[in-house]
């Protein structure tokens, strides 16, 4: 029997190559691997201990497409069979004809009527293959072509902070500025509203991105929004 030891604490920052635990008592999860009797981190991230499983939550890096993610993509090419979109990742996404619109698109129709080059579209990922081929759909609640407003890019790993617990953060911003905000899992974010309110929204989002790891973030964002908009705000958490 070897010595069973956990060498790190929960919520520690781990570096690739760092030995997390020795012995067979723990299991390697995402972002870790087993080498003989040791569990070693293989990417930079925040360590989470989930029972016996050790995994790392990534803090940096490009977006990796995942099934069922809602993202915002930009049309970069129009093909015979659909559209090719840039989704801020190493791999482009394909939007096939049948997933583009509820109405039937006939073969040989002018596809630019639906989506033109450089259009931004809110999409949902339907499938990701082992070779990272990405299929998306534009059919579903909340999925549509974007008109007006502005697009900003944020770090994809900060997206959960921007959305907040059950959407509390993003609804706080929406309530304060009366802007429409859609945050894609890939970090591409759409903001639309009154021009000066859009700027406040963008600043608030940038602020969350910068201070994502600070506790009491909601309070400081609320303070900023109250000062910028002159409104009294309340943090609502939807049940």
């Amino acid at each position: 029997m070897t010595d069973e030891k956990l060498l790190v604490k929960d919520k520690d920052i781990v570096i690739p190559g760092e030995v997390l635990a020795s012995g067979m008592n723990y299991l390697p999860g995402h972002g870790t691997y087993r080498d003989d009797k040791k569990i070693i981190a293989n990417r930079l991230g925040l360590l989470t201990i989930d029972g016996k499983v050790l995994k790392t939550v990534p803090l940096a890096g490009r977006y990796m497409p995942k099934r069922n993610d809602v993202i915002i993509g930009k049309v970069i090419d129009i093909l015979m069979s659909g559209w090719k979109l840039d989704i801020n990742s190493a791999y482009p996404a394909m939007l096939p004809l049948k997933d583009a619109s509820f109405s039937y698109i006939a073969k040989g129709a002018d596809l630019t009527k639906y989506f033109e080059l450089d259009d931004y579209v809110v999409l949902k990922i339907t499938n990701v293959t082992s070779q990272n081929l990405v299929d998306v759909t534009c059919k579903g609640p909340g999925l549509h072509k974007i008109r007006g407003g502005r697009i900003i890019h944020v770090n994809t790993h900060k997206v959960p902070r921007i959305i907040g617990k059950k959407g509390s953060m993003v609804s706080l911003i929406k309530g304060a500025t009366d802007c429409k905000v859609i945050v894609g899992q890939n970090g591409t974010t759409w903001v639309s509203g009154e021009p000066h309110m859009e700027i406040i929204t963008v600043n608030a989002i940038k602020m969350i991105e910068e201070k994502a790891h600070v506790s009491g973030l909601t309070e400081s964002v609320k303070a900023y929004l109250e000062k910028a908009t002159g409104k009294k705000l309340e943090v609502k958490i939807k049940e």
């Binding site: 030995v19 940096a60 490009r62 791999y91 082992s130 070779q131």
Partner: protein
């Protein structure tokens, strides 16, 4: 035979490195970046990707590829370096790539490329080693999956004495045999990913030099780790 070389010009002990400084996340536009300074050699590394690989015929469905570029700034050394790729910089780009490749899990990024750019703003020997150290930190900072970090330092054999982290002045000592041996290693497994030699040394001296740099490499690995953790402490 009498040994003429008994003391290092800057007063370091034979097994000491020059002072080291490291920082992660220095270039905001890059996906990952790092700065590594050892003595009077400074390297900046920026990592972009994984991103789509062009030209397309180089795409590999089995694995991603790593593409490194080493560049010395024109003002970095005593003599002006002509801008643009040279025979030397192409070679160093290649050895940097090969030094890093064994640790990076490129199979996670099929058909894609991870680009690494190493820029040297100041050079005084050991620039490829500083570049590799910076590049490995930048890769970790970019969230690329990798088995371990890579650390690198050069050894030297000066008049049959083994020294760690040979500097520019020592490299140019005349009248005695000087060999410059850049070494890169994966600290956890002690696998060597880069080993070159410029100069004259005996086989035993080379083997001894490899052993001699191990403690220094362990120390550098610790500095790299600390710098990366520092960035996320907040």
């Amino acid at each position: 035979m009498m040994t003429k070389f008994t003391k290092r010009p800057d007063g370091r002990k034979f097994e000491d490195t020059r002072p080291i400084e490291a920082k992660a996340g220095v270039i905001s536009k890059a996906d990952g970046s790092a700065f590594f300074k050892i003595g009077k050699t400074s390297a900046y590394a920026a990592v972009y990707g994984p991103r789509e690989l062009h030209p397309r015929h180089r795409q590999d469905p089995k694995t991603g590829i790593l593409r490194c570029n080493y560049n010395m700034m024109p003002f970095s050394g005593e003599e002006r370096v002509r801008p643009g790729p040279s025979r030397r910089s192409k070679e160093i780009s290649m050895v940097t790539e090969k030094a890093l490749q064994p640790v990076v899990n490129l199979e996670d990024y099929p058909n894609a490329v991870v680009d690494v750019f190493v820029e040297l703003t100041e050079t005084d020997a050991g620039s490829r080693c500083a570049g590799i150290c910076a590049a490995s930190m930048a890769l970790a900072d970019a969230g690329i999956t990798m088995k371990d970090m890579v650390t690198s330092v050069s050894a030297g054999v000066i008049d049959h004495n083994i020294v760690v982290d040979i500097d520019g002045e020592e490299e140019h000592i005349e009248d005695v045999d000087v060999a410059d041996i850049p070494i890169a290693m994966i600290p956890s497994t002690e696998e060597i990913t880069l080993l070159q030699m410029d100069g004259k040394a005996k086989k035993e001296e080379l083997l001894k030099a490899i052993e001699a740099v191990k403690p220094a490499l362990k120390k550098i690995a610790e500095i790299q780790r600390k710098a990366l953790k520092e960035k996320y402490k907040g």
